[in-house]
């Protein structure tokens, strides 16, 4: 904390959307040469607050001071003139352009690609970024895209950087690299704000942590004087248990699903899943780890009957009486007609698992609308199921008739998981079940998954947070470039490094080979 005048000072900022108070009288300071972590549950107003700094929203009341002077930030352009740059959670890049073209996009003045490239290379060297200015965005890994976003704001001269959940999409190794860059920026006297849900990252990178709860500023703490438990309790407002229980299987696990020689080739001829073999047993959670885009999606979709597979691929479902059913070649409806109760919580909740514009009741109907022999749908039972899911899983919604897109991320996921476990599955597949969810909702989802495990369901859990995978799963299968690069039996937190290395094993260093 260098000098007395803060780089950014927010005074009594209030922002409402209709009847919702996103921020109420928030005041905070960020100094130069400091990394502040902004912590809070979903809907606690973190992103809204930062959007006001970056000119996307304008506060209803309150004032923003930059370097001690009152500032009025009406647009992202204004924000840049105050040297504020924000890296959004969802990248805002044009796929067909190169890194350089994306970085200078929208800037005024003469177009001089060479000069810009030189300047970009200079920035990269200064902070230790690793990006090829001539590479097209569509050829880049998620981590590279993020680097381009960060270079973009630095290129525009940002002294105050806001990073909205930057690590959500990165491997542990990539995260470490990002943190090194952040530390270099800090040495360069920049002010950094990082939004994250992961407490161990808060501890690793930040100097101070600011906590928001329900739009209100609760406290700011010096990171080294606090701990994960204290931060969580302040964030949630009451004490929370911070470990995931790993229940022992109740009965002897039996093999439920056998995946053999599974290979998926996409429309460009790239092997997304390459000769994968594994088994899933009843009453066990099989974790699947890997850098995003390493075939997890295609693997689960092949099992669920949504993905064309190469010949020779096989997914055998073993019924309770020992008979076997081949699932490859069937669509989801045909699978369920075989009497196989397979539930799938896909990664894209609103684009695949649910219909965003339909209400909770109509979404419950997705799996059951074909029931009955008349051409008419039964609207009563889905409505009853919707009511049950809302009350049992404690879904926060104004009504059953509310379109699911209006619910928060955690509640959307509860609706989806609630529907998928409602028809007593024997196999449950979840992809990134807690992505974007706050701590409370995440633990609610872990509990639901554990409950299914207790009911002898065979669970496949695709995750990205290694700490969670290590705690929750009975076995972890690691995918790298569509191949199984290793299996860790009965994992413990000490296996983190092993799994991290397996995740990047096949492709050489840590770049995805395409």
């Amino acid at each position: 904390m260098s000098n007395n005048i803060p780089a950014v000072e927010l005074v009594n900022i209030t922002k409402t959307f209709g009847r919702v108070h996103a921020n109420t009288n928030v005041s905070m300071k960020i100094h130069k040469g400091e990394i502040v972590a902004l912590l809070g549950e979903n809907g606690s107003g973190k992103t809204t607050l930062m959007n006001m700094l970056s000119g996307i929203y304008y506060p209803d009341s309150g004032a923003i001071f930059i370097d001690g002077k009152e500032a009025s930030i009406r647009s992202p352009k204004d924000a840049f003139s105050y040297k504020i740059g924000m890296v959004h959670q969802h990248f805002k890049l044009v796929d067909v352009l190169t890194a350089t073209e994306n970085i200078i996009l929208g800037l005024e003045g003469k177009l001089n690609l060479k000069e810009s490239e030189a300047k970009i290379t200079e920035i990269c060297e200064k902070y230790g970024f690793d990006v090829d200015p001539k590479k097209k965005i569509y050829d880049m890994t998620v981590s590279e895209k993020q680097t381009v976003e960060i270079v973009k704001v630095l290129y525009r001269g940002a002294d105050i950087l806001i990073l909205d959940e930057p690590t959500a999409v990165l491997t542990p190794q990539e995260t470490e690299k990002l943190f090194n860059v952040m530390r270099k920026m800090k040495e360069d006297n920049k002010a950094l704000i990082i939004i994250t849900h992961k407490l161990h990252e808060v501890e690793a990178i930040s100097d101070r942590v600011a906590i928001l709860r329900k739009g209100e500023y609760i406290a700011d703490l010096v990171t080294k004087d606090t701990n994960a438990q204290e931060m969580t309790d302040m964030m949630v407002g009451h004490a929370v248990k911070l470990n995931i229980e790993r229940v022992k299987p109740l009965s002897e696990p039996k093999t439920k699903l056998v995946v053999k020689n599974l290979t998926v080739v996409d429309s460009d001829g790239i092997k997304k899943v390459d000769d994968v073999n594994f088994e899933v047993k009843t009453g066990e959670i099989l974790g699947i780890a890997g850098i995003s885009g390493c075939g997890q999606k295609e693997l689960l979709e092949s099992i669920a009957g949504l993905q064309d597979t190469q010949s020779g691929s096989s997914v055998i479902y073993i019924n309770d009486d020992g008979t076997e059913d081949e699932l490859i070649g069937l669509n989801p409806y045909e699978i369920s007609r075989k009497g196989v109760s397979l539930s799938f919580v896909p990664e894209d909740r609103l684009g695949m698992g649910l219909v965003a514009n339909m209400d909770i009741s109509d979404n419950m109907m997705l799996r059951s609308f074909r029931q009955g022999s008349t051409p008419f749908t039964d609207r009563k039972s889905p409505y009853k199921l919707a009511k049950k899911v809302v009350s049992v899983l404690d879904v926060a919604t104004p009504s059953i008739e509310t379109p699911v897109r209006k619910l928060s991320g955690g509640n959307v996921q509860k609706v989806l998981v609630g529907r998928e476990i409602s028809n007593a599955p024997t196999v449950l597949m979840t992809a990134y079940a807690v992505r974007g969810l706050d701590i409370n909702s995440s633990y609610a989802i872990y509990d639901l998954i554990n409950e299914q495990k207790k009911k002898n369901v065979a669970v496949i859990f695709v995750g990205e947070d290694l700490d969670v995978l290590l705690e929750l799963c009975d076995r972890i299968l690691v995918l790298c470039d569509g191949k199984v690069s290793g299996v860790v039996e009965d994992p413990t937190p000490e296996d983190k490094n092993t799994v991290g290395l397996l995740m990047t094993k096949v492709g050489g260093n840590n770049s995805e080979s395409k």
Binding site: V355, F376, T377, R379, K406
Partner: protein, 366 residues
């Protein structure tokens, strides 16, 4: 407050929720403003008293029993075309090929009227005409549906192109049927014995389309809201990935829905040829296949709301036609007025989705 602090003049924020009555008030206000602007413009152009102008619009649409029935018939036809396009629209399949589907339905109907009398009794003839119209229109809708389902072609383009093909096919048949007279017209079919002419219910020729429109409106509403197929259309329209995820056959739904859409257009062709015009020309649809796109959208694809949106357009069209003749103006005036009303009705949707907040007036700026 700081002197040099500048707040934006106004801010636009997305509304999270708007009570239904409020959105209807906004729409109502938009129509009132639109009518005022229309009044000002017609007064400026005609120097007439605006109240007089509006009363002649009403006389134009409902002045006599005959005018009222014509207005109702036109309303029913436009409503039916809108209802025909709606299944596709609810599936987010932009069927702008209503014109072509109507023409093909009409052509098939006319062919039956021309060649089947004498072969079959009149009652059966009308039934065959109906089936022929529906099937011809249905096939014309089916083709873009299949193209979309199999090869993911852009339906906006393919349905539009199919209109031109249909127009030329009809033109070719008319030329062929009219033979050596080469007048380019075939004239009224069966003018003497009226074979294949649709029955006048209660002596009123215009009643049949009205009844059919009422039935189709109610059936559509039930179909969308209470049937499995209606639910499938909604899911496919929102997200075909979700539809596949629950094992719906997306291709089948697209093809089936486009057949329904085309078939309903074919039904309109049957009504126009068999009941209204008793002949076929390349212009029987008269651009209503496109107007109906707007009607359906304005009603947010709700069959009952379409009654009001099609009424608005037909009423203004009929009425403005009347003032054009009464005041000695070009018939374009009716397009101008309809355009003004649509502009306001569509623009008001912005104020339903967004809220505009002006800055506080108490700031000491000049």
């Amino acid at each position: 407050m700081n002197q040099n602090k500048k707040e934006p003049l106004f801010r636009i924020t997305k509304r999270t929720d708007i009570p239904p009555h409020k959105s209807w008030i906004i729409r109502g206000v938009a129509i009132v403003i639109a009518l005022l602007v229309c009044a000002i413009i017609t007064t400026l152009l005609t120097k007439a008293n605006p109240i007089e102008v509006y009363s002649s619009i009403i006389t134009g649409a409902f002045g006599t029993t005959r005018k009222t029935w014509i207005t109702l018939q036109n309303l029913s036809i436009l409503l039916l075309i809108s209802l025909a396009l709606t299944p596709a629209f609810r599936m987010r399949f932009w069927n702008i090929g209503g014109e072509g589907q109507i023409l093909m339905g009409g052509l098939a109907t006319a062919a039956c009227m021309k060649f089947l009398p004498g072969v079959v009794p009149n009652g059966l003839l009308i039934l065959i005409m109906l089936l022929a119209g529906i099937i011809a229109g249905g096939i014309w809708g089916l083709i873009p549906g299949v193209l979309k389902a199999k090869w993911n072609t852009n339906e906006t383009l393919s349905t539009l192109m199919m209109n031109y093909i249909a127009t030329q096919i009809v033109a070719a048949f008319i030329l062929y049927w009219s033979g050596k007279q080469s007048s380019g017209k075939i004239g009224v079919i069966n003018p003497d014995d009226n074979l294949g002419w649709l029955p006048k219910i209660g002596g009123i020729a215009q009643l049949l389309p009205v009844i059919i429109a009422i039935i189709i409106t109610i059936v559509s509403y039930i179909y969308y809201n209470y049937t499995k197929q209606g639910y499938e259309i909604a899911v496919v329209g929102e997200s075909d990935r979700t539809a596949k995820y629950v094992g719906m056959n997306v291709k089948k739904v697209i093809i089936r829905t486009m057949f329904i859409s085309g078939a309903l257009c074919g039904l309109v062709g049957f009504l126009l040829v068999g009941g209204v015009n008793h002949t076929v020309t390349t212009t029987i649809a008269g651009g209503q296949g496109f107007t109906a796109v707007m009607v359906s959208w304005l009603a947010k694809f709700n069959p009952f709301a379409m009654i009001f949106s099609s009424f608005l357009i037909i009423f203004m069209g009929q009425g403005a036609g009347e003032i054009a003749t009464a005041m000695g103006l070009d018939s374009s005036i009716s397009d101008i007025l309809t355009g003004i009303i649509l502009f306001f009705v569509i623009a008001c949707e912005f104020f339903i989705s967004y809220k505009v907040t002006f800055k506080n007036n108490k700031k000491e700026e000049a």
